[in-house]
């Protein structure tokens, strides 16, 4: 999966979860940049992304992700 494909998948998941089609995720997007992406919705996003991609993030990663790009990188590391 390319960076862009993962980003597109993340955008779709978050749009579905928050029911907001105006969301566009970029590599440097932070959680506070997206309306309603609170800590609870963040866990929902992790759950949905893990299920969609068939992988699990470490608890340390989930705690330390700062940008969407960090999450994309974690996925790419597992695909390698």
């Amino acid at each position: 999966m390319s960076e862009q494909e993962i980003l597109a998948a993340f955008t779709r998941i978050l749009r579905d979860l928050l029911m907001d089609d105006s969301i566009v995720l970029k590599m440097d997007t932070r959680r506070q940049d997206v309306p309603n992406w609170d800590s609870f919705a963040y866990i929902s996003f992790v759950v949905a992304a893990e299920s969609e991609l068939g992988m699990k993030f470490n608890v340390a990663e989930v705690e330390s992700f700062e940008t969407v790009g960090d999450i994309v990188a974690a996925v790419r590391a597992r695909l390698r």
Partner: protein, 631 residues
Amino acid sequence: MQKEPVAADFSARLKEALATEDGLVRLDALRSLADAAPGYVETIQLDRSLARVPPAAIDARLTRLRLALLSSVTIAQLVPGLRVAALRRGFFLDVFAGGFGQYRHELLDPATHLQSFAPDVVVLSLSARQLIGSIPVEADFEHVERVLKAEVAELQGLWNAARTRFGASVLQQTYLDVYEPLFGSFDRLVAAAPARAVARLNDLLADAASADGIAVLDVARATARDGIDFWFDTARWLQGKMEIAPQAIARYGEMVMRIVAAQRGRSRKCLVLDLDNTLWGGVVGDVGIEGLVLGEGSAVGEAHLELQRYARRLKERGVILAVCSKNEPAIAEQAFARHPEMVLRRDDIACFVANWKDKAENLSAIAEQLNIGLDSLVFVDDNPAERARIRSALPMVAVPELPGDPAGYVRALAEHGYFEAVSFTREDAQRAAAYAANSQREALRGASQSVEEFLRGLQMRVVYGPVGALELERATQLINKTNQFNTTGRRYSAQELALMAADNANITLQFRLSDRLGDSGLVSVMILRAAGPGVRELEIDTWVMSCRVFGRQLEDEAMNIAVECARTRGVEALRARYLPTERNGVISGLFRNLGFEPAGDGEAEGPSVWRLPVAAYAPRRTFIHRGGEPS
């Protein structure tokens, strides 16, 4: 556990539903999407979409219900699962999601928000973690037992608070065993080992729930079946103190709402079975009885027998069995009579329909003959074309999707929880016999010259009395399950009913009907409440009667009895109310027929109020005798 399949066009259908302006159309579309077994993200989407349905549409289609989910841990993730499962069953939930660890305070402190929320249902979802952590591993059996019993005693206090403060029904979740083995298999032999302590705690909880009439939400059993990894995810526990993982919320909601629906009489009542390639392998009309694949060491034959065994167990717990098959009736009956491997007997089947007619027509006839609604039927057929036909012609009939392999039939039927129950009474165990007796009565009716001759020939007897401790469970079940002959549609818990029965200002009556063909058991309950202080009138708050005894004059004799009891008390008049529900149209003329006069200005189609001066009542003539023990 496998991920649930999601309808491929889910997103498109959801967009379409949200694009429509018509609230009712939107709601119906969402409800049909809820039926499509949504996964985690879809559940959240549906829940958010439901918030975009106008209240008027909700009120027009769904029954509102107030549910409080109280916990010692995080439960906010569960709420969408609850609301979507409710939608699937025709309810709209207002949910009070309790605060982390606040369940005691919320239930016991009169000044909490829960007080103003006034829940109809309280779900207690508790973690055993703190309790298990408090027991030293070297604690002996007595020590552990003392700690566990104290926990359950505290629960009983909470249940009591939920019932007395809110009149709510309580669902107590079993404790999850999320603990890693401490000794290994030896855990089972160590009183304080977490696995053993949790299992024991759940046993004690079940005993207490049974004694107190509380419903148990057995998530522990579900974790054993689905695998603990489906229900519990260590990462979610560490991240958010969730003991039930988000991916399990659809299943959790479904489990809760099955019980809630069962408590309100919405479980299914009758299993309708196809024959060829469903109950047995092969087409009996082609291969003959000798050629059927059934038992005899063939795996396929054994698979069909497993379905028969499961159906028989369902019958034993009170589910009515029917057959609907495209066959020559004589050949189909012969297979039951002559095939040595058959587990189901012909007399297990309350309604046997084998012909060449359209199955939708036959299912309607079965429902009519059994006097139950089409929405009480579950139809099991191996033929995809027949399933599709019923789903489109009779959408209210439940039609489980069957796999190609008969080995999966029982699971496919069982996993939907169509027959979820919250009680099991003597009447349930004897239901099949009661329906068989009803078939004999129908035959007798057909052979009689007149209705009078038929009724006289039955030699009916009614035994009646107040609702006492012995009748409490069955009377409660009848009040909550009866949809047709139900004057007000009001539902009461056993405890509420016991309180009304204990109040001398009220009269409660339960009626058992028997005749020479059998004992129909406790089939009617009437609650007459004091209309007000100082008023010498009683109001029929609730009157229910099992559809099994329709057309037998029991309503007439029951009213004779009610008036006698009222007269003895010096009551001057009976009041009654008919509140129309979706299903009780059959008794819209009941009170007029019994001699009541309209009181107040009820609309022709709406609720109506009735009054009967006791002195003016002319007892109805019936063929029902009084007293005597039912045979």
